[in-house]
Symmetry: C2
Subunit: 579 residues, 2 copies
């Protein structure tokens, strides 16, 4: 990967650029965060012409390394006001990498109000008007069909739905997966940034692209084999995730009493069976048709955690149907029916909004009296309205923090205005430290301490106690920032956390590809540097330690069944980033 594509939407011109030396050994999140920090004015308006949006494959993307096809998307977030990296599957990352494109940087803003498609191939970047029929309320599923017809099924695709066109705060960026279904860079409203630049879609055609060059192919092949084995040998990444999807967590987290329900007033629900991964998997199998247990969001994934959920007639409804979404609608909003949840998930993907932010916003709106508790029909109707947003649809698409303000609530589960997902910090204290301190706003993927707290992978820490959590969240955030720079899916953690061979194999792949001799310390250093850069941006944007706090209600509302509160002091929390 030896070039940048820089697209200026003010002039509607694009150019290829050489990659500056300082960026050469960065990829994924490391690259997006550094470019944003170097090039974007931290106090700029996220939807103004001075924000930029950057797409970057990871260091290993495009190779045969297992699970290396993730893409990082970075910008100043309209939701949090801070730096954002949002991570997605799909085919885009590998196609960029094969074309040798290390990053796409989109800047400026047209003066007109048309929407555009940026079309990239081996030789050229073309900016052309988006097809009218894909706009103005057209959902993502239909838009993909329209764009596929024009640009070919095999082209990679990033696109925004109506929510992105309207620049709503929870708008995501959708990405085509190998079957032209949808994955998303969901969090932080990056779809609104793309919408503000009037980019409806980025289409990437890797016809005639070469292979990604590998300095030492034999060493790479061997490391890749070891790595793959490590992933498949672990019971979580080798078995549970394929069989039950991420939704396997419903019973585990509910059992642990850390399953925030009814807007974070309870930690365990009675109806977990209705929405569990076991039920999900059994339902898919029973219904047959287009349903599919275990599917990969990108080529080369050996974990295959995605589940295709079908309706009673066996017709495909949704995939990438994740635990956090099912939790948000099923427990936090109390919608007890998996079919209803699946329909809402599909509708969220279709209008193009983050299914965590919107699910939590719906639950908060239920607490605020805007929607009846557990009313899946009402929730579905509101999400569908986001295609041509009614006032209520705007409120919910505004995200949890805005819903909280417009309902006058103090029980508003956000950090840095981003909704807290699926794991309650009171009885799972490690994840609370991550939520509080990550530069991303509440984000479970930024340092998944649920692992050592509950799953007992990589560590064994009492989730109800403070001991060891600060160091653990710090290490997890550093490690994650590094992994997010490789293009690896976060679930590789299961293959490397307790398996030194797996971990070494990952490093060996990087070394073999680039002809380097990095050590584990170098990888840690990479992670630390990424976090420092992100935190530096946030400081300049106006964040201070006072923003590294969980919502205050968690300090005085005990969560049943453990009846515990959040009890880290500000000083203790601030220790997480003391490195």
């Amino acid at each position: 990967m030896n070039k940048f594509i820089r697209v200026n939407m003010t002039t509607k011109k694009a150019k290829f650029e050489d990659v500056p030396n300082k960026y050469k050994m960065l990829g994924g999140r490391g690259l997006t965060s550094n470019i944003i920090n170097d090039e974007v004015k931290p106090t700029c308006h996220p939807l103004g012409k001075n924000n930029k949006i950057v797409l970057a494959p990871g260091l290993l993307s495009g190779t045969s390394a297992p699970n290396s096809g993730r893409l990082s998307v970075g910008a100043k977030s309209p939701l949090t006001g801070g730096i954002k990296e949002s991570n997605t599957g799909g085919t885009f990352s590998q196609q960029m990498a094969r074309l040798g494109i290390k990053a796409i940087i989109i800047e400026g803003m047209p003066k007109d109000d048309k929407f555009y498609v940026i079309r990239i191939d081996k030789d050229d970047v073309i900016i052309e008007e988006a097809p009218e029929e894909a706009l103005n309320g057209c959902g993502n599923y239909e838009a993909v069909k329209i764009l596929n017809k024009k640009y070919g099924d095999k082209a990679g695709m990033a696109l925004i739905g109506p929510a992105g066109e309207y620049r709503l705060p929870s708008a995501n960026i959708a990405f085509k997966d190998p079957e032209s279904n949808l994955r998303a860079a969901g969090r932080g409203g990056l779809g609104a940034v793309l919408g503000s630049k009037r980019v409806k879609a980025i289409v990437i055609d890797d016809t005639d692209a070469g292979r990604v060059p590998i300095a030492d192919p034999d060493k790479f092949r061997e490391a890749s084999r070891v790595f793959s084995k490590a992933l498949l040998e672990h019971p979580v990444s080798g078995e549970s995730l394929a069989e039950y999807g991420t939704d396997v967590l419903v019973n585990i987290i509910n059992e642990a009493g850390g399953f925030p329900s009814y807007n974070f007033t309870k930690g365990r629900i009675e109806h977990a069976d209705n929405i569990s991964g076991e039920t999900l998997s059994a339902t898919i199998k029973e219904r047959k048709g287009e349903g599919m247990v275990s599917h990969a969001c990108h080529r080369g994934c050996v974990i295959r955690c995605s589940q295709w959920y079908a309706d009673e007639e066996g017709k495909y409804i949704t995939s990438g149907f994740e635990y956090e979404t099912i939790w948000g609608l099923g427990a936090d909003a109390g919608i007890e029916d998996l079919d209803a949840i699946a329909s809402i998930d599909r509708a969220m993907d279709d209008v193009g909004v983050d299914s965590i932010e919107v699910a939590v916003a719906i639950a908060t709106a239920m607490d605020g009296g805007l929607i009846p508790w557990g009313d899946g029909k009402a929730a579905l109707e509101i999400v569908k309205q986001m295609a041509k947003p009614t006032p209520m649809a705007r409120i919910i698409a505004g995200g949890c923090a805005i819903v909280g303000k417009l309902c006058g609530l103090f029980r508003v589960p956000v950090v840095k205005d981003q909704a807290i997902p699926a794991y309650d910090p009171r009885p799972i204290k490690g994840i609370g430290l991550t939520y509080a301190t990550t530069p991303m706003g509440a984000d479970h993927t930024a340092g998944y301490c649920v692992s050592g707290n509950i799953l007992k992978v990589g560590a064994d820490i009492d989730p109800l106690k403070k001991e060891g959590q600060i160091e653990y969240s710090r290490a997890m955030q550093i490690g994650t920032a590094a992994v997010d720079s490789t293009g690896m899916c976060l679930f590789v953690y299961f293959g490397i956390a307790d398996n030194p061979d797996g971990y070494q194999a990952m490093i060996n792949m990087i070394n073999a590809q680039y002809g380097l001799s990095l050590t584990a310390e170098d990888i840690d250093k990479l992670g630390e540097d990424v976090l420092k850069v992100e935190r530096e941006f946030n400081r300049k944007a106006g964040f201070s330690n006072a923003h590294d706090r969980l919502p205050e209600f968690m300090e005085y509302e005990p969560l049943p069944p453990h009846n515990v509160v959040w009890d880290f002091t500000p000083e203790e929390i601030d220790e997480v980033f003391n490195f």
Copy 2:
């Protein structure tokens, strides 16, 4: 004034307290800001049990000093997230002072969801359930009648409208004026704080209150005479404000090209005559009936800037009908009809929302396509809906920043999430520095540099140039913080800015009342200390210099007719608070 009243809404108990020594020479804003900084956890949720709300008369309130009947209300603001002092007329301040109550501090939060009235008299504080018929959508005008019937016409009254009950971010606190019409502590959503504590109203009965003790009555009387003369001799405070109200500014600011219109895209409008103070005054006179040119919002006011606006049948519509509100609806939202504007102003008072925040939110919503430009009927309908808020009413009552987010706009005229009022910072640079740096969020009353920039009172600074503005905004903010601590109306500035006798008379009154010998330097020091305390609170709450910035669009969208942008550098802006 020798006691505090502390009301705990969790226990529904109240007590009288002695005033700690360190607070004895503080009043008004100086007192509310110090108590908030000392007692409120800066990172608390503004609508949670740990926020407090403080009401304090000024040092001179309750005496015969002209224009000394203003009240300060302080809390952590749900709108800005920072410290807030909001200032109001009405009878409340003088009644508190006569009862010797230096501050009312309301803390805690009931577990039930009833609303309460806090009733204060000479001997007692009683917390009782609010009358049902004054709740659930009952407007402030009607609620005052209901409460008057129960507590007597002469009782002072602070109350929240439906917007406060719903804890909407722009909810204000209304105060009865001498005729049982409404004044308001408008800005920063303090009505939502009172609503969160389930306080519908505070009623104060000063029957049998003594006089405020004066250490040297003769000296006080003489100083008061000189001060009054200074106010009446100045053409603005002695004449224009009485004749045309604050709306006299329409023609002046429009002529200066600093009259932000159509969501801050133009600096001058064609239809200024429709909404000017001259037209306002002539219309009131022509219609006769209950209309009244020149009325006082509190006893002892010699400026009498309030205008009672009546409809075509001569029936009272609204008073306290200010320039900033008329600007917001008339120019920023382009509603060209003064009757329509008056009806909306009345409706805002009636549901209990800040008429600046909501007017600007309406204009921003028009830019965002939610309401047709200039449609007064639609705006009125939405404001009325705030009594039982529809989703659209919630959005608009959410204030300008939220409207901007839900419309995906970058042209969002706020600082610290509070709407910018009535004077465009691009061609009136001094006020821009105040908007950017005051701890209050965009607030023209925090350092009214329009005075020296446009009115040429107190200074003569070219509004289009940067020279002298930093020092001027600093001095004005310091002076204002001091005046806000005296209970004096800000318009006394016209009597003291260019008149050393007037200024000395104000100091003499304080000295005569308290038996002190303060100098002008002491008064400056008081102002400086207040600002430092406020800034300290905001720092701890998470604000940094990055928040002392105007909205970015002002840096690159030139404002006609002068076609100038905002061009102070961050470093220059930060100099304002370098003292």
